[in-house]
């Protein structure tokens, strides 16, 4: 990652801990073929219980709706839904159907996959504040419907504070998952709350 390597031997004399540091660095070539290694491909499978709140949230997505929950004590309306208010530590009071529009709180233009493979067409992850919630409340999703692939091109179309709308999978293909929303796309005219 860096262009020059530190030379431990030079600094060693004047810097703590004043004794030679141990360790045997390998370069990529040595690492790949010249030292022994054991490979193990984990086969770990889980099936997580979504629970009361997230199950209902997922059911809502299947129907093309985004649900939130409200706590009367602190007055917050939040999503993703939860069974209890984590601040007041009491059960949530009511379910609220939110809009499927929102505002980009922050976004990124990402040119690598989750395992660091390069992406020519970047992904645009964003925190979307969903309309109908308390301020600064949203969740992670992707921004789509944007032309171009360079930072400059994309930044011309996407900015913090931009209104967006969910683009849904066709109803028959929805499975009760966060991916039932394909992405959020920029909207010119805001839906009235």
């Amino acid at each position: 990652m860096a262009r020059t390597r530190a030379k431990p031997a030079i600094a060693r004399a004047q810097a703590p801990p004043y004794v030679p540091l141990r360790g045997h660095p390998l370069n990529e070539e040595e690492f790949r073929g010249q030292v022994g290694s054991t490979a193990w491909a984990p086969r770990l499978e889980y099936a997580w219980d979504a629970g009361v709140a997230i199950s209902r949230f997922l059911d809502g997505l299947r129907q093309g709706k985004i649900y939130g929950v409200r706590c009367r004590r602190c007055g917050r309306t939040v999503t993703p839904p939860r069974a209890f208010c984590e601040l007041d530590f009491k059960p949530m009071d009511e379910w609220v159907e939110l809009l499927d529009t929102g505002t980009i709180n922050t976004f990124s233009i990402c040119y690598v996959t989750w395992d660091m493979k390069p992406l020519r067409v970047p992904q645009i992850p964003a925190v979307i504040e969903i309309d109908g919630t308390s301020p600064r409340v949203g969740f992670l999703h992707l921004v789509g419907g944007v032309r171009g692939r360079t930072v400059t091109e994309i930044r011309r179309q996407v900015r913090a504070g931009l209104p967006v709308r969910a683009v849904w999978k066709p109803p028959a293909k929805r499975e009760g998952a966060i991916t039932d929303i394909l992405y959020f796309e920029p909207v010119r005219k805001r839906t009235k709350k």
Binding site: A2, P8, P17, G23, P25, E28, I54, T106, I109, P125
Partner: protein, 391 residues
């Protein structure tokens, strides 16, 4: 936290391994290198140690379940009370907090704290281990990676205060330069802001040289009760205050512009240390810098800069090694490397040497009497803070 601790705890020895992109050495061996060096500098042997703390980040890196158990012989934990305290990326600084608890409780007098990380075992790329940090039902299906959340946070920080990427790139320049004098350093370099911004955009606004590297390495310290420290060391460095704070896991429900959990952790530590004016009373800082913007974000959370003002302070040299408040004189994670838990404890080691005025080419000028080390982790969620001082 109404009361102050009654028993004092000192650091009396510190050790490191080399920090490397790929080590031939196993995690156990790296832990052993650091631990044995810490014991040696404290002038004691493993049999004198009554308990051991281990810090190491996700099991997914090593592909070993209950990794703490597996590493325990490398850390000298066999036959002893051994504890793996774990707060994600904050674990390195938390390890000394956990060790502090052991001694400050009066239960133990001599405790070895070891932090180890070997990320290179994870294939095809260690970043893959981070996919599983996201919520399994509502985030993981989107295929998120670790860079997402940090670039989202950096963008929010920049947007909230009108900060430019050039200001942030300066952190990489400073820390990679500082690391030239660090014997463990993996990615020390003399670079310019232009070099940083010319490197690939991995996740705008984050460029490749604004990200700390994947590393293997270990760090260790020896902690002692007051009575034992005075017997074993002529220059013990005291743990004056510790603090930690965890924010909600609903990270999309809070403002990423400011790390309020670092502020709360910092005040917990400052109050314990009797620090009321951090900018005057802290003489050297080792804030957590896994990404360039994080150092600035954390300096603000640590109350060492005004909100949104850290970039300006950096630009006028306030955080240089010879500046008014040296920050990351070690070279930090951006320069020395980022074997996650070990990198956090490396910061504590640096304060130990700086406060003993033993830091050689890295020594900050003047007579630093008090320093702060901080780490951060989970879903941009935890702050861990330790204040160390000469008395």
């Amino acid at each position: 936290m109404k009361r102050k601790p009654t028993r004092r705890v000192a650091v009396i020895g510190a050790g490191l391994s080399l920090f490397m992109r790929r080590a031939l050495d196993t995690g156990k061996e790296l832990a052993y290198y650091a631990a044995s060096q810490a014991l040696q500098t404290a002038g004691i042997r493993l049999k004198d140690i009554q308990a051991v703390v281990m810090a190491t980040a996700p099991d997914a890196f090593d592909g070993v379940h209950m990794k703490g158990e597996w590493l325990l012989d490398g850390a000298g934990g066999v036959g002893k009370p051994y504890l793996r305290a774990y707060v994600g990326g904050g674990s390195g600084v938390f390890s000394i907090i956990s060790g502090w608890m052991m001694v400050a409780s009066g239960v133990f007098d001599l405790v070895l704290v070891v932090a180890e990380e070997k990320m290179s075992s994870c294939q095809p790329h260690p970043q893959g281990a981070f996919l599983t940090i996201f919520d399994h039902i509502i985030e993981r299906p989107l295929g998120p990676n670790l860079l997402w959340i940090f670039s989202l946070e950096q963008q929010r920080y920049m947007a909230a205060y009108g900060i430019r990427n050039e200001d942030i790139a300066l952190v990489s320049v400073k820390n990679k330069h500082n690391a030239l004098a660090h014997p463990a350093a993996q990615v020390a370099a003399q670079l310019t802001v232009k070099d940083i911004l010319d490197s690939d955009v991995v996740a705008w606004p984050v460029h490749r040289l604004m990200v700390s590297p994947i590393s293997d390495g270990a760090a260790a310290v020896v902690l002692a009760s007051e009575q034992v420290a005075r017997r074993l060391s002529d220059r013990p460095i005291w743990i004056q205050g510790v603090g930690w704070c965890l924010d909600t896991s609903y990270w999309g429900n809070r403002d990423l512009a400011y790390p309020r959990y670092v502020e709360k952790a910092a005040w917990m530590a400052y109050e314990m240390a009797g620090v009321t004016e951090p900018r005057k009373q802290i003489h050297v800082a080792e804030p957590y810098d896994p990404f360039a913007y994080k150092e600035l974000h954390h300096l603000e959370g640590l109350q060492l800069a005004d909100r949104g003002q850290a970039p300006e302070d950096l630009a006028r040299g306030r955080f240089d090694r010879t500046g008014e408040l040296p920050s990351c004189p070690s070279g930090g994670l951006m320069g020395v490397g980022n074997p996650i838990a070990a990198a956090g404890l490396m910061k504590v080691c640096e304060l130990f040497w700086q406060l003993r005025r033993e830091a050689g080419a890295r020594q900050v000028p003047g007579n630093p009497e008090r320093g702060v080390a901080q780490a951060w982790g989970d879903l941009m969620q935890i702050g861990t803070v330790a204040v160390l001082g000469v008395r």
